[in-house]
Symmetry: C2
Subunit: 337 residues, 2 copies
């Protein structure tokens, strides 16, 4: 099972390798190679199942038809779903994906960018960790297309696709406020990621607009490093210490899942004792209680836009004005009780 090379095909077709290359790259017409010869070459390529060796092509052309995808953690539903969507969109444009997880570790993030670069990826799709700012900056200087997803750096002029977390949080809060809830707690995590900050801002402004006082004691800000058990415990304690709370807004998927367990442990019923609002969807919520309100990220849409932005940069003819897409999250109210 030896690989067939362009040379083998040339020998069999009785031409020189460059002719084969030209034909297989669709430049037969351009180079005025006879149809007869071109057809012969194509036929042999088909029969032998010829596939150009991508590494050779990359070395020669500088392009690999591969995109690098860097996410925080591929085993997390949100990123896994995003990766899948990205993969599909990329394939549709003839690109493959190399992916890797940063684990929110700056060093690993930097290392991964270097790795992808040495693989000659044609572009980068990144959900960056806060510490990756300077690396992303450097990457931009290399001229390779970069698109940030889900998070971004306000100071950097790099195209990005974001969810409008502020509006999402506002939407959700307004839903609760309209229903009459007045003692709404916020459970969030102490990452200084832009999306968390924006969600928190939505919480604040919504309260303001309804002329409600912001009560610091109703915000539970948990350390990112905490284990699942610790989070559950902290939320449970918080609920017990604040019996006045009539609704909880979980700023992220993961907190919501822990939160449900805490609610259960605290023997509170949804929605009788407590209304729940959560960012990011999860299979679990629907099943656990249909009255949980969700602010869902349009993952497919994010993937589509990200690939679109990347393709635009790859297309040399288009101007390279950094664009930022702001995606509207969707509110899912499954049960109006």
């Amino acid at each position: 099972m030896k690989r067939v090379s362009i040379k083998d095909i040339a020998t069999r077709a009785g031409v020189v390798p460059s002719t084969v290359s030209l034909v297989l790259n669709g430049k037969a017409r351009e180079q005025r190679i006879s149809d007869e010869v071109a057809d012969r070459i194509r036929k042999i390529a088909d029969e032998t199942g010829y596939r150009p060796l991508q590494t050779a092509v990359s070395l020669r052309t500088g392009y690999s038809k591969t995109l690098g995808l860097i996410v925080e953690d591929i085993s997390n539903v949100f990123f896994a779903t995003l990766a899948k969507a990205i993969e599909e969109e990329a394939y549709a444009s003839g690109y493959k994906i190399v992916y890797c997880s940063t684990e929110n570790d700056n060093d690993k993030g930097r290392e991964l960018i270097a790795m992808l670069t040495s693989q000659q990826v044609d572009g980068y799709l990144i959900t960056p960790t806060p510490g990756m700012e300077s690396e992303v900056q450097k990457l931009k200087l290399t001229g390779k297309p970069v698109v940030l997803m889900d998070r971004y750096f306000p100071l950097l002029d790099v195209p990005s696709v974001l969810v409008d977390n502020f509006s999402g949080a506002m939407m959700g809060m307004e839903h609760l406020l309209k229903k009459g809830y007045r003692s709404i707690a916020l459970v969030t995590v102490d990452l200084d990621q832009i999306q968390m900050i924006e969600r928190e801002r939505g919480y604040h402004i919504a309260l303001q607009q309804w002329h409600l006082d912001f009560q610091e004691t109703l915000v539970l800000n948990l350390p990112y490093q905490n284990s699942q058990e610790q989070i559950v415990e902290a939320i449970e304690l918080f609920l017990k210490e604040h019996p006045e709370v009539d609704a909880v807004f979980f700023a992220t998927n993961y907190l919501g899942i822990c939160g449900l367990e805490a609610v259960q442990n605290a023997k509170k019923k949804i929605p009788e004792d407590l209304a729940i609002l959560c960012f990011d969807d999860h299979d679990l919520f629907r099943l656990y209680s249909p009255s949980i309100t969700i602010i869902r990220q349009p993952i497919r849409d994010i993937a589509k836009s990200a690939i679109h932005l990347l393709m635009k940069q790859l297309d040399k003819n288009s101007p390279t004005i950094p664009e930022n897409y702001l995606k509207q999250p969707e509110m899912v109210i499954r049960n109006s009780t």
Copy 2:
């Protein structure tokens, strides 16, 4: 921001490119290059942040330090968790991962293998679709290491890491039988994948050993193509038509999730009206009801063994006797009520 090449370093160090290559590949001693020169070269490489261009190295050496991972669907929790574990284990051995999803589509599976081959991956980690048998066979003939995970082809002599699905099913069934359940339904999917067949076999043999008659009407075999809604509906109908059923064994994660919804719709309580046993773990189960019994796949262990098997094949010195690892699943009983 030009890339620095081996040539640049050579110029700056006042040596010839090959000397740089030798030093950077740790062959300085071997080639009796003076420590002074070697140190100078290493220093310059460090300062300039030199990284060999992987495509050039691959083209020259035939090795890419990259492994190809083919899963069914990266957005599925099981595969996402597996991918993460594989990624971690591979990194520990200095390998990167290129991944792709087959969607259980044979054509796509074949296409992906070809893609990975043209990328010159050093080895393949595959959870194959049934139709990939001949491709896997061909792959083996190329001499590149291949390891199958989660599923395998009995006729093929390819190393694999499997979960002992039969024993797992037996374990779970025995647990139910010991608790006194006698009318145990099986909900499965009509894929002729080896793991599904094995789980079904476990169901049969367990009944046999307890001298219980196998009742065909208690097996619900659903088409793989069915949508989530269709599955939920089918299970709900099944439960209503079989009020005698006192326990349900869901052969897979996904069915279990749909099953819980069906159980809810059918207004049955767990475990009062119905005991639930399910293959594969999911966050949801624990939260939904602690009395659901789980047969959990040791994902980390699968990843470790798969990488181990691959590394063994990559190590030319070790004999290439195909090995198959059979991993013991773990039974998780959260609540003995």
